[in-house]
Symmetry: C2
Subunit: 282 residues, 2 copies
């Protein structure tokens, strides 16, 4: 407790970046927050709403004098932005990210950034902009830190403590293991939801209006940012391709039971899923 | 308004059947309700809770003297039960069902039952039993009536009016068209959810515990009754197989973009889905 940062640079002021800004401000961790982004209107709105105090359209400008730098653009931009800001990073400053992909990217960013701590707060929402940003977004949520042998111990401790002050529970995970797990429990469901909506679109987009609770639930995350999920999916592509293949196999098993009108085989497939799904509360 | 039934037989006392019983009782449409089911304990519980007034383990007994008969077992049993009750149906009685499949089944049931009106109330929940039954389940919801040239006009008018008294909006639909549409907007999402859970199970069932809001939403309906969805899927198998094939093609397009690391192609696929999903409110 007690530590604070003099200046934080939020590189990418969307739902996560803006919520992080609000959270550290509300928790007395930093009161001088600079934003970087591509769209000036968005940065102006973030400033008006008191999310950031200043902004620049150049990430290297935004990080000047910052002792905490936060990568919160779509993950596909992390490497390029890291290279751009490197020359202007203040000595001793800590760099973190809020991205959903870890894996090799962590090792690559470690080569560029001097004191990088890889973070994945398990929080978000399907609406990508700052409209839904709130300072308590991370409260009660998990934050995974993908620590490596190269992670600076002092920086790691400070960032762990920061997440705890925001109300998150910190969990350590190997970067590669992280990507295998999240490909399955997060990235695959997103791709499944997008593909399901496109199937409705293939038949007749107008039928989407007839969606009941079932179709709404299964496709809610298909309203998420295509840019964000493009980057996550491409970076975690190897894991995702093999899980997509397994998912297709499971769909083909169902289709095959239907073609053979084999009710027993179908019920076994559905029961297996029902039992596992019922282990979750809702 | 004003009409009532002397006795209603609910054949299948689950979430829908029990809710229908409560709804007609609460709305003054019928106060003498008999139940049929396979499990005596469930029928006893339904009687204790005031959902039904009497019960029998023989559907032909349950329908004796009933002027309204409601098929609310899994749809796969409708034909057999209809044949069993036929001999005991009271003259002038009306038979309806609450099933999610119409199509050919409607024409087959019309051959067995003298005054059948095919209904599909768009209401339900993923927990199949009577625990969640409530008299206002149909309020504000749509009820589709799959009318055919053989539907008795007087029975149709009475049943339409009954649904309106329960607070439902009645919509007419051709039985075949009904099944094409609901295969896409309801049955396919269920099978997708079951297959997605089985994919997690294939990798490691323990990982289900790490599910965030995304996986929970996309798989919530996989907690639904395997028996119910087995019957619906087998009966609507032809439509479902072709939609499953289209869904698999959409997943393969995504997998192919990932294999080629083609971010632009992937973003186009995701954006197309996002635009269509955003036409829904939540």
């Amino acid at each position: 407790m007690g530590f604070s940062f003099k200046k934080t640079a939020i590189l990418g002021v969307g739902l996560l970046g803006a919520s992080f800004a609000l959270a550290i401000r509300e928790n007395g961790i930093c009161s001088n927050i600079a934003g970087f982004g591509r769209r000036k209107e968005n940065l102006e709105e973030a400033k008006e709403r008191g999310i950031i105090d200043s902004f620049s359209l150049d990430p290297a400008q935004a990080v000047k004098g910052a002792d905490l730098v936060v990568l919160s653009t779509p993950v596909g931009c992390f490497k390029e932005i890291s290279s751009q800001i490197k020359k202007n990073l203040a000595g001793g400053s800590i760099q973190i990210d809020l991205g959903s992909v870890k894996g090799n990217l962590v090792y690559e960013l470690e080569k560029i950034l001097p004191r990088y701590v890889a973070c994945h707060p398990i929080a978000g929402g399907e609406r990508p902009g700052i409209a839904d940003a709130r300072g308590n977004l991370f409260k009660g949520m998990k934050c995974i830190i993908a620590k490596t042998p190269s992670t600076d111990e002092e920086a790691f401790k400070k960032i762990s403590s920061l997440w705890e002050r925001l109300g998150s529970r910190v969990e350590l995970m190997d970067p590669m293991e992280h990507d295998r797990i999240f490909a399955l429990v997060s990235h695959l469901p997103h791709l499944a939801a997008y593909a399901l909506v496109n199937t409705v679109g293939d038949v007749d987009p107008e039928l989407m209006k007839l969606a009941g609770a079932g179709l709404k639930d299964t496709t809610r995350i298909a309203a998420s940012s295509p840019e964000l999920w493009r980057d996550v999916s491409i970076l975690n592509g190897d894991n995702l391709v093999s899980y997509l293949e397994m998912f297709i196999k499971n769909l083909e098993k169902i289709a095959s039971a239907l073609r053979e009108k084999d009710g027993n085989a179908l019920e076994r497939l559905l029961s297996r899923a029902q039992k596992l799904r019922k282990t979750l509360e809702n």
